[in-house]
């Protein structure tokens, strides 16, 4: 289900859960508390999201599409800018960034690990259509990987970087990837 297809009730549930995650963490939130925050009956939450995993995945997708939404890039070479801005947004909402990063890493039953992939492919194919299949895949894979909450989590956790340094390092890495194809642009 895409975000546009959510009912008002569903949006209220997901927004309530996201608020509660920021207040108390994702582990300790009961359906009862979510229902009270959303102003609906507990059974309505169960009817829409029968399991906690259903609820968590839907919430992560909603957070990614609303609170962490990207401004649309019109060129593949704008992606480092988008990455920089995304990192700053993750840094402002750390608990939610962790939830988005974690749900994307769940394997077969997780959220889509690279939600912006199709957009990256369109941009790359329009500007640099001459790449061979392996090169194209490597560029898309690297940029998808960098443009994600996982970057923010890893750079903060493993290197103790702050907001400015995370945004800088992630955008720098995306530029490094693009440097390999700058001379291949055709228009």
């Amino acid at each position: 289900m895409t975000i546009a297809e959510l009912s008002g009730t569903q949006e209220a549930i997901l927004a309530a859960y996201a608020e509660l995650i920021e207040e108390v963490g994702s582990d300790d939130v009961s359906y009862r508390v979510i229902a009270r925050r959303a102003g609906i009956a507990e059974r309505t939450v169960f009817r829409n999201y029968p399991t906690r995993v259903d609820l968590l995945l839907a919430t992560a997708a909603w957070i990614e599409a609303t609170l962490f939404a990207r401004e649309e890039s019109h060129s593949i070479f704008d992606i480092p800018l988008a990455v920089r801005e995304a990192m700053q947004r993750y840094d402002a909402r750390p608990e939610l960034a962790h939830v988005v990063a974690e749900t994307a890493m769940r394997g077969v039953s997780g959220a889509a690990p690279s939600p912006g992939r199709a957009h990256l492919e369109r941009l790359l194919d329009a500007e640099v259509p001459t790449l061979d299949a392996a090169q194209r895949r490597a560029v898309i894979a690297a940029l998808s990987h960098l443009d994600s909450a996982g970057t923010w989590v890893t750079f903060r956790r493993e290197f103790g970087l702050d907001r400015r340094d995370i945004a800088d390092a992630a955008a720098w890495a995306a530029e490094a990837v693009l440097d390999t194809i700058r001379d291949r642009v055709t228009r």
Binding site: D27, D28, P94, R106, A142, F159, W172, A173, A176, V177
Partner: protein
């Protein structure tokens, strides 16, 4: 598998066994207690939340199933990561637990992983006069491309196997190392 020496390890060993047949989310403290032959309360005492259990399980799996070969040079580093990605491919359920654990909000004051320090040490040797900011950017990028997260994203989102993932990793490493100014590289 080695004999667990204590309750905490016995719990992790049993969780790893259960992980072969179901997802981490489907392993209840109740089922885990039955499997170990202890009370549910004992598990809660060791692992107060599922996030604690996930983090500990990931560490234990990493040590027992995915030991990282030591590396000093860049080519050793590439080989070590390739070996690890191939091991992930043979035990995907375990590798997803590792990817997931590295994305959660830390439950304790976590130390950087061994591979992070090893990458930083490798760069100190390979490019001894590199400035601090560039070294940090390069180290952070290499670390992130060598992570279980990269493997998980390419396997799930791109449907790639270990061979293709190693290829994408090598290309990413090349792009990052291409930014090393020649003057900073150690004399061969």
């Amino acid at each position: 598998m080695e004999e667990p020496v204590d309750t905490a390890t016995a719990i992790l060993a049993s969780a790893a066994v259960l992980l072969r047949e179901r997802m981490f989310d489907d392993i209840s403290y109740r089922a885990l207690a039955d499997e170990v032959g202890i009370s549910e309360r004992t598990i809660y005492r060791q692992y107060p939340t599922r996030a604690h259990l996930l983090a500990a399980l990931s560490n234990w799996i990493e040590q027992t199933s995915f030991p990282l070969p030591p590396f000093v040079t860049v080519s050793d580093f590439r080989a070590a990561v390739h070996e690890r990605f191939r091991a992930f491919d043979t035990l995907p359920a375990y590798a997803y637990v590792g990817a997931r654990a590295s994305a959660i909000s830390p439950t304790l004051d976590t130390e950087p992983a061994y591979i992070t320090r090893a990458i930083e040490a490798m760069l100190d040797v390979a490019a001894p006069t590199l400035n601090r900011r560039d070294r940090r950017r390069i180290a952070a990028s290499l670390r992130y491309f060598s992570s279980a997260m990269f493997w998980a994203r390419l396997r799930t989102g791109f449907d790639l196997d270990a061979g293709d993932i190693c290829d994408a990793f090598d290309r990413a490493v090349d792009t990052v190392l291409a930014k090393l100014p020649d003057a900073t590289r150690a004399e061969p």
